[in-house]
Symmetry: C2
Subunit: 319 residues, 2 copies
């Protein structure tokens, strides 16, 4: 089932207004959810919206809370997210980093006490749309065993890097696990094996069977020891700079996962550069760049309507 | 064969002085090489020194060139490395980023027209020793096929992240390929297979055979599409911000690889933090953190002497 983008946006906005969001915040929060679905990142758009509503109900998210400045060192600021909606907090933090970059060439906001930012790539697109290079990452609840371990003591800590380009921004949005739980779910439902090993089975062997990995919860870090090390460093830097919670302090329950630490960096690149086009062209024929598929899907969904789950859509429209 | 650290340092300094280095630059350049060997990163210390000398002889490296400020936007500066020695340029760039961070909370130096920085981790340790978080990366000549391609159009673009800690800095120094050519060489010489797939064989199949990968030169990006995407973004950001060469413009010959672009970020973290110790402790028993092995090796080599190749040592001492 496909619906026009504007209808998706209006419906989500209306739901948030009925929940008590201030009008401007309802509009932006709905826009971030709707854009995510429109861009084809279905797991973190509309399909994640019911959980977002439940986390408002269970008190994890305070819909009225806005981030507050905790301290400033010039181009580096620390903000307290006060457990507001994660996507609004993240958007405000990247906006502030962009303002700092306009004055100092570079700006960094370290955000504590926030909630899941939904699609991390949104804040990369935000920076690139402003003509800046954007780099941001978040920690998460413990959900990834370090290389050499069996207990999930690391987060899969998504990392986003974005470079502005007139022909289409290059935006990489990657978690530190080779596959997300959402990806495992999709492969299992389609009855497919993963294209490469994605974790360990009950016998402790690497496997491409998504169900076996869901059972052990032993996801594989991307690049084995490399993704494991990178996940650790991202948590260390986020928690240290934000003076916020580290992964090991975050409740390991997706519906209670709150108090996250995030980093937002913006760098003035002088806008879109021919150099970026040359680099993308140098990859060779048939090699896609990160963000290319997003732009294609966005164009298609804006033209033909955005795919939504009919049951979910009916439920939301009347909620 | 083991020699005292001070003898290694003095010998390298003497060689550089005989080559015409200014005294202070000879001392720092030798120190960076000697520390790398002392820390156990043998591939990029003394063992890389003969190639460094050859690249002075072939004109790739100008021993007298010092980096010059090209432009400033406050906390973000662009410097021209003028093809000076890569480790001296990188050390100067991180020192400048640290100075900027002292004023602005964060500092970034984008360096163009430089040479191979040898061990990237050196500049992470440098930042952490100054009580700052350090992030830096370099592009390289084309040596890594993108995921889905067979031609090496990406660089393996090493990335360094460092967090200061009183009990031992956490320093991650990772290239974007799952294994470096140096690592493939070591496994092949020992007659061992790689612990995980490291690239493609002549039939286009993933393999753990180091010799087969050396033959095809089709290294595997760490995390498949993830390392491929990250390598691209690191090149895009480095070349764009530095206004320098991108990977596709760098001569694909290790002895002529020059004109690199690099990024150095320093962030004031308030010095070493208990939070970092808590995070490292949370990993669980037996899980090593990045940098732990380096510190152990450093301690051993300082106590027992630094291992050197006898033939290389004899040759250098008389050169």
């Amino acid at each position: 089932m496909r619906i026009p983008y504007s209808e998706l946006l209006d419906t989500l906005t209306a739901v948030l207004l009925r929940r008590g969001f201030a009008p401007a915040r309802a509009a932006l929060c709905a826009k971030l959810f709707a854009e995510t679905t429109c861009d084809g990142v279905y797991s973190h758009g509309l399909n994640r919206f019911p959980r977002f509503l439940r986390m408002i109900e269970n008190g994890s998210i305070d819909i009225h809370a806005e981030p507050g400045l905790a301290s400033s060192a010039g181009a580096l600021e620390r903000w307290n997210g006060r457990r507001g909606p994660g996507n609004l907090n993240a958007h405000a933090a990247m906006a502030r980093a962009l303002t700092l970059a306009a004055s100092h060439g570079i700006g960094c906001v370290a955000l504590s006490n926030t909630n899941h930012w939904m699609r991390g790539g949104s804040y990369g697109w935000q920076a690139a749309d402003a003509g800046c290079i954007g780099i941001c990452w978040t920690n998460t609840m413990p959900n990834l065993p370090p290389w050499g371990g069996t207990r999930p003591t690391l987060g899969n800590n998504p990392l986003v890097l974005a470079v502005p380009r007139a022909a289409g921004h290059v935006v990489l949005d990657m978690a530190m696990s080779q596959f997300s739980y959402g990806a495992l779910d999709s492969y299992r439902r389609r009855g497919q094996l993963l294209p490469v090993d994605g974790g360990f089975d009950a016998a402790g062997q690497l496997t491409r069977d998504p169900a076996a990995i869901e059972q052990t919860q032993r996801l594989l870090p991307a690049g084995f020891w490399k993704g494991s090390g990178l996940a650790l460093l991202l948590d260390l830097i986020a928690a240290s700079l934000a003076q916020g919670q580290a992964t090991h302090q975050i409740l390991p329950d997706p519906e209670l996962e709150t108090g996250l630490s995030q980093i937002f960096l913006a760098l003035a690149s002088g806008g879109t550069q021919p150099i970026a086009d040359q680099i993308v062209a140098s990859l060779g024929d048939g090699i896609r760049y990160p963000g290319q598929q997003v732009l294609q899907t966005r164009t298609e969904n804006l033209a033909n309507g955005v795919p939504v789950d009919p049951a979910l859509w009916t439920q939301l429209s009347s909620s």
